[in-house]
Symmetry: C2
Subunit: 206 residues, 2 copies
Amino acid sequence: MLTLHDDLLSGNGYKIRLLLTQLGIPFRYRELFVHKGETRTPAFLAINPNGKIPVLVFDDGRTLSESNAILYYFAQGTPYFPDDPFARALVMQWMCFEQYSLEPYLGVARFWTKHPPDRPDLADRMAELMPKGAHALGVMDRHLDAADFFVGDRYSIADISLYAYTHVAEQGGFDLAAYPAVRAWIDRVADRPDHILITQSAFGER
Amino acid sequence: MLTLHDDLLSGNGYKIRLLLTQLGIPFRYRELFVHKGETRTPAFLAINPNGKIPVLVFDDGRTLSESNAILYYFAQGTPYFPDDPFARALVMQWMCFEQYSLEPYLGVARFWTKHPPDRPDLADRMAELMPKGAHALGVMDRHLDAADFFVGDRYSIADISLYAYTHVAEQGGFDLAAYPAVRAWIDRVADRPDHILITQSAFGER
């Protein structure tokens, strides 16, 4: 059976928990705490030399890291990833946008709110994240103004990827009231069959 | 014909120039200067609402942004992207690593060295980038210790993606002497047929 090494606080890990649950693929859950340094131990670095969760370990010992790469691996050949080559590239475009233009702002602001690092410039750094995160939310809102989902008007791993940190953006201090199309999309994603909460490690558990 | 909107200083744009050249796909080149704010004009935001190069515009007006998504689009069905689903996911894993764990350090340090932003904390911020970039280079060096290329011992878009900012890391103040396996891999990538320099907009031009 697959083993997912993850922190329940992580939106990146949540992406995997959500897709595996929706695909009906069982997995073992191994919880780690990033804020306690548990992703920097020699034992964990042997699994992912980059020192980051989530990581998936297969029965034969192979490992796969990077949340969007894991989504892609399991979505290939399923309705969660399109057949058309250009639509596939658009899914990748939005997942790259998520990791570069959204997660470093929405994700970091939320993590720092829950576990504030001990640094004198924390308030300044938090203040810097806000306009950049707001820019990403604005890009998403304008796109969703004319579309139910991010690519081809169909729920895909692009939506799972972007939903992870966006639906909990307010936990990092972002106000979603300014992004009505994003809010409506959040509701659509949460209404999908077999949806789970970010606090759930697998389907059925609360 | 395809039109690539790009800045010759960008490693992200170079990835596209290199792959299209190696695939023999012609493209028009439209040069912009990021440091002059040319990716934030209304005209450019109409092409990419996220305000970033590279962006590729197709004849029919469709656009595709995010360098690794563009690499993926053109590499599908070519020797630059593997057939095996797990190998494909490993290519994605390394491209995600590149955008999240390498480019924000190596790429930003190089950009700030060439065009220093006017901010009082610049020296502190540069100093923060260095250990994070060094960590990424260490991860790559250990991987390349046992492999000629990043995935399946074969040159792929994972190599193109990682090469872009790594081979010019010293322009951002990183010393590659500490990473001999990375240096040997840089030489292997530069020896590939139809290789072009980061300063070239297309094959044949110098």
